[in-house]
Point group: C2
Chain length 359, copies 2
């Protein structure tokens, strides 16, 4: 008997995953050369499906890395000469800031207490910041930064590069890529795949910045997965090093499944299920939604305080019914649970979880 | 009807791969948390199996990256303050050197013409080089650098860090890890897995160097997958970011299969099959082994000149019999083929390939 994973990543595999994996094995995708036409066709297909799903314009390339965390480093190396600005409202946006410091960038930060979120009006971007690093969905605290606020902020600071971490929410946020210069995600969240592939979307302004920085004798933009080298190979649907060919194939197939349903439907289903969960948390005295402000509540990673019992007991209780929810992040391990609301789990499955949580 | 891949990576999947993948799917390895005991058990198991297979002592940690190419960058960032030395005898050892230059290290190089190999006596390591970068097996040219020569060189320059690229040969080379400070490989070669995971072996001296460099205000060792952070998490069988959990599981299972056969047997079978292939190439006038010196001939990636026909015709001919061999690297595409000799292909399959090549 298999469990249903409501964990915020790695997460429940998307229902079509096994079928696509079987096809990939039958077609020996794990053995094909990354310099073959077969691979170039796979890359182009996955690119087309993601482009349709997320409305990515021709100005942006789609590149693959080992993980989304790797992209934090790549974008800082490639797009920041001196200064970056980070809106920190949880552990992952904080890690992005930490990466900037490790790379000896002059990193600015605006910070909110854990569980609170930003609006555009909260944020004053320092004059010399070249990159504005925003996290659409904080996997740790269950806080979202709404796309409308992201777009508003970009309009105010239009000359700066805007980069959006959509790791645990893509394809949910309806980002306007005429305003968002770069975004990235990993596949083990809402795409319902095993971990091991990062997706980096970056536009020509990011590329120009990387090319400009590379001219400077005094600085390096790194050696592996630099944007100019990724882009050079991308133009012929290749990658600089051997990529995770199998996962690129599978990602294309799942993105195609999403497109068949329609991203509008997927987004509406996500919101419907989130409403169902938050309503339960608000009306059941054993739980409280951790994020107080409704507009800052994540639609894909929902964090609840467990008032009646320690979180570990709640987690153990639902596990007896074959359902796995995530524990609270870091020091919130004892008092919170995290419930992923990704396309892989249906409204019925969410209903079953809430029934069990209600016991 | 499936093809048999004799390509030098991605390559033929190891025969047990499908079975292990099925078990992983049944056990929902793609969904488990990388912060769970289940994952820690998997990491420890894979570590134990690799340790047994390659005789890795307790002084060395085993870390995971997105690819072996990523390790080129990591080891240069973490272990080289100023100068590195590279023995270049093909395109991949050259890329390792290029990475050092991109990272603004002062990179020294000794170079051999394509198809020729090094002995220890050929190499004079510059006084201030901190890291000696050697490539055990050049996937591009089919040249090997024998472990005895690697060990001899290290004894001569014992204070320098020695790093060995064993991407397309592990577990074949019998490296003495009391002499080799660091080594790395990827799983899509001799381990018979799909691409998407790099394995980095590094000892306490590498770690100490990284920690020392990190003290210097004026330099960065990177942000993602730094050795100190990898090691800190490794101590509790975790990883800093979400790793490719599924592939780490599969690698452990295949390493265990290798251990059941015994690494001595696998190495002997590799040499037997290599002898079979080289003997064929030497006695058939349509082919010539590209590497003239017998002691420099790779046992795992065998490069042949095609004398009678363009390489593309040879490749097309064997493909009609369901066998895929690699094309020559870069400019040698038209005149060479590359035959991988990994554990996934049996002596009988090699025999069938040679029969077809003989037509």
């Amino acid at each position: 008997m298999k469990n249903t994973y409501f964990t915020p990543g790695p997460a429940e595999l998307y229902p079509t995953f096994t079928k696509h994996l079987q096809t990939a094995m039958d077609e020996q995708i794990g053995s094909i050369s990354h310099r073959s036409q077969r691979f170039r066709d796979i890359y182009r297909y996955t690119d087309e499906q993601l482009r349709e799903l997320l409305s990515i314009p021709a100005s942006h390339g789609i590149y693959f890395t080992g993980s989304a965390s790797e992209v934090w480093e790549r974008i800082l190396l490639n797009c920041v000469e001196h200064e970056s600005f980070h809106a920190v409202n949880g552990s992952f946006s904080r890690k992005f800031f930490d990466y900037a410091q490790s790379l000896h960038k002059f990193a600015h930060m605006a910070e909110k207490p854990f569980g609170e979120g930003f609006d555009a009006a909260d944020l004053e971007v320092p004059e010399y910041a070249e990159l504005v690093a925003l996290t659409h969905n904080e996997t740790s605290s269950g806080v979202q930064l709404r796309p409308t606020e992201i777009h508003k902020l970009k309009r105010k600071y239009s000359r700066k590069l805007f980069c959006v971490d959509m790791v645990s929410s893509a394809p949910y946020p309806d980002l306007d890529f005429s305003l968002v210069d770069s975004a990235f995600f990993s596949v083990q969240k809402a795409f319902g795949m095993p971990a091991g592939l990062g997706v980096w979307i970056a536009n020509d302004r990011c590329l120009e910045q990387a090319e400009r920085l590379q001219q400077y004798e005094s600085m390096t933009i790194g050696a592996h997965h630099t944007l100019p080298v990724l882009h050079k190979h991308y133009k012929t649907w290749e990658t600089p090093a051997t990529p995770n060919v199998l996962y690129i194939y599978l990602l294309g197939k799942i993105a195609a499944d999403f497109n068949k349903i329609g991203v509008g439907t997927i987004r509406r289903q996500t919101e419907d299920k989130a409403r169902q969960i938050y309503r339960f948390l608000e009306t059941n005295s054993a739980y409280t939604p951790f994020v107080a402000e409704e507009r800052h509540r994540s639609q894909t990673v929902i964090v609840a305080q467990t008032n009646a019992r320690p979180a570990a007991e709640v987690i153990a209780a639902v596990k007896t019914a074959g359902m796995i929810v995530g524990s609270g992040y870091g020091t919130f391990k004892d008092s919170q649970i995290r419930i992923a609301n990704f396309p892989a789990t249906t409204a019925d499955q969410v209903g079953a979880l809430l029934s069990k949580l209600n016991e």
